[in-house]
């Protein structure tokens, strides 16, 4: 039962950190894989991400290390940190989402909209009960 409220997702991409960094920090590219918004790798920069049916969500950049790390608060709900490390010719890419406030409006809506995920949720309950 270690730090339950941290989400960590890791991938290795066959593209160098500079390319992945561009996809994270260029609004035109960012909009294509996640959400439209004026993201910029500048600490203190505030922007909004268009989260579709969840509306425009405020973000603020809290940490930047060129081509290595970008971290911003997201929707008053959590902090999102993207970490890039060179791996061979590619990039080890890690997403860390933590500092959750699940009583925030977007978190509530997201939870209520999670209906389709219920089979996975139920499988998760089994695991929790087995571990508890």
């Amino acid at each position: 039962m270690k730090e339950p409220a941290v989400i960590r997702v890791e991938r290795v991409f066959a593209h160098p950190p500079a390319r992945v960094w561009q996809a994270l920090t260029d609004p035109a590219l960012h909009a294509q894989w996640w959400a439209a918004g004026d993201v910029r790798p500048v600490v203190g920069h505030r922007f909004e991400l268009d989260m579709g049916r969840w509306g425009m969500q405020p973000c603020e950049v809290v940490a930047v290390e060129q081509e290595r790390l970008l971290s911003y608060t997201f929707a008053g709900m959590s902090t999102i940190t993207w970490r890039l490390e060179p791996e061979g010719a590619g990039t080890r890419f890690t997403l860390i989402q933590d500092g959750f406030d699940l009583d925030s409006p977007i978190a509530r809506q997201a939870y209520e909209g999670m209906g389709r995920g219920w089979p996975a949720v139920i499988a998760g309950i089994d695991r929790v009960l087995a571990a508890a």
Binding site: L29, Q32, W33, L102, V121
Partner: protein, 103 residues
């Protein structure tokens, strides 16, 4: 939900929950493994109770604490949903990088 996260954020409370996996325990016994006094342990138990992670049961002059893992399942559900969401987004990112490469 935030009650649950706040409750789990503390190492003493996590250790208490782990002890309760073995079965119901009175405060006296729960306090034994810690350098904290009984009042501090009781306060931690109150936080766990508020988060519905434990419930108490009077047995004679003692109060026994029971683990209730149901809120943990809710946390797990959250984590699973978010992880799924991010995996989909990262698939999209991977596809975008491949497309940009071909230009």
């Amino acid at each position: 939900m935030n009650d649950v996260f706040a409750a789990l954020a503390n190492p003493v409370r996590r250790a208490l929950l782990l002890q309760l996996r073995e079965g119901p325990r009175p405060v006296k016994e729960l306090a034994r493994g810690f350098e904290l006094g009984r009042p501090a342990i009781s306060e931690h138990l109150a936080v766990l109770r508020k988060a519905r992670l434990v419930r108490e049961e009077p047995r004679g002059r003692e109060r026994y604490y029971h683990l209730d893992p149901r809120p943990l399942a809710e946390v797990q559900a959250w984590m699973a949903a978010f992880t799924h969401y991010w995996n989909e987004r990262l698939d999209a990112l991977d596809a975008l990088l491949a497309k940009e490469e071909k230009r």
